[in-house]
Amino acid sequence: MTPAPTSVVLSARAFERTITRMADEIIERNDGTDRLLLVGIQRRGVQIAARIAALITARESVEVPLGALDITLYRDDLQTVGPRPVVGKTHLPVAIEGLNVVIVDDVLFTGRTIRAALDELADFGRPARVSLAVLVDRGGRELPIQPDVVGKHVEVPVGSRVDVCVVELDGKDEVLLVATGAL
């Protein structure tokens, strides 16, 4: 079987540069790091958020609290209960009341994941502000949700998908555009 044609959207170097820029933008948009909380969406959003938190710590010499949201139980379709559904962990290290929360995810597509994340976050309290940082915005929104910080905008042709690899889970940092052949 012929492998699906792929093109590299972000190489490892570009990945690192992009995340570094995102960290700078997050500091700037939040007027520093006071009352800042980064929350990654399971799974790869968590690794990207951790990377951004480490960069902010290196830059500002402060520990930024880091949480994780699993939105599986907040999805709007039970059809995701497939042969082996995985419910991940949600962990918020501090009370979110009055904080500037930055939700971090790998790819922004329809916006339904972010809607679910906002619903889940609201169950934990009332942050002062919530913003959204994504590594890749591939367009195709089905809900009125827009990111505040974007690593890379990508035009995705019909029948293609965006794959994000992170070194912690996949052994390498890379973003690929993969043609699936489905039209």
Partner: protein, 318 residues
């Protein structure tokens, strides 16, 4: 869309090790929901679940109800004494009438072994067995497995002894099926009058003395001595039972290793278990209760994937 568990949860006997592991893996992160200020997720919003308890139950019914409410389902509790069952309505008619009111799931406890299966074969809604006669109590078995797995990491090769009235215990059967499927070694210990004749055929060892069980095991799952059995002459007296089979601190102190102590409740303190054991450092009895809610949430979630009405309601994409 198909639930990885099928339509119903009737027992552990017919589940695979993979299915059991899936339930435990799903339950693990769900424990966190009970720690939140708002102990609720919207997963089963719009689902209606009927808790049909033909036998008295406090902890199992409440545990199911908490699980259902924490998943945002609407719940109805039916106590047969206050329903048309007391006028002679059959089990199937009761369930069919409820189903006609567009329910999605039924949690049933019944005094007859096989009642849950009987119902599941006749109605469309998902059926969860919350204890049927002396047959199975799968969610209790699962919460025991989860508690043991949390403590041991893996059940493979661990030695678990189920102590007490195995003959009448649905918990014992679910435990034996579940534990052996996950690779544990299982034994039972109790008076011969309270052990099934063919217990060996379930692949378990038998101990006649609690000291042997304590010597052998990594964990004891101590069953309630059903006091009503006293009248039927299964044991000479409660005092005699406690003297021979009671799990006491003195006996545990002679164990070659620290034992985990489980009990499905309600406990008869001073009969099958002494208070200083039930409340002691090796007891995980309250953790079992906490895990019970998470396990039931996991079962509801996994079965919901095979609910025809919920699937219809959920159409709309991700």
């Amino acid at each position: 869309m198909t639930s990885p568990l099928g339509k119903d949860l009737l027992g552990l006997e017919h589940l695979t090790a993979e299915q059991i592991t899936l339930i435990l893996d799903t339950a693990e992160p769900l424990r966190e929901i009970s720690e939140r200020t708002i102990k609720k997720v919207p997963t089963l919003r719009g689902a209606t679940i009927v808790n049909l308890f033909f036998e008295a139950s406090t902890r199992t019914r409440i545990s199911f109800e908490f699980a259902e409410k924490r998943m945002s389902a609407d719940t109805v509790n039916v106590a047969p004494a206050a329903s048309s069952v007391s006028k002679g309505e059959t089990l199937v008619d009761t369930a069919r009438n409820l189903e006609a009111m567009r329910i999605d799931m039924v949690v049933i406890r019944h005094g007859s072994s096989g009642a849950a299966r009987f119902l599941a074969e006749r109605i469309e809604s998902n059926v969860i067995n919350a204890g049927d006669g002396t047959h199975e109590h799968p969610t209790q078995g699962l919460l025991d497995l989860l508690t043991l797995r949390q403590k041991f990491g893996s059940l493979a090769g661990k030695k678990i002894c189920i102590c007490g009235d195995v003959l009448h215990s649905r918990v014992a059967r679910s435990n034996i099926w579940g534990l052996t499927k996950l690779g544990a070694e299982v034994a039972v210990c109790g008076p011969r009058s309270l052990l099934p004749n063919a217990i060996h055929e379930m692949g378990v060892q038998v101990f006649d003395r609690i000291e042997q069980a304590i010597e052998w095991a990594d964990a004891l799952n101590i069953l309630r001595l059903q006091l009503e059995r006293m009248q039927a002459g299964y044991i000479p007296s409660l005092r005699e039972y406690n003297r021979v089979f009671g799990v006491t601190r003195e006996r545990l102190e002679r164990a070659p290793r620290d034992l985990l102590i489980l009990h499905p409740g309600p406990m008869n303190r001073g009969v099958e278990i002494d208070s200083d054991v039930a409340d002691g450092p090796h007891s995980v009895i309250l953790e079992q209760v906490t895990n019970g809610v998470a396990v039931r949430m996991a079962v509801l979630y996994l079965l919901a994937g095979n609910s025809p009405r919920l699937a219809e309601a959920a159409k709309g994409g991700a």
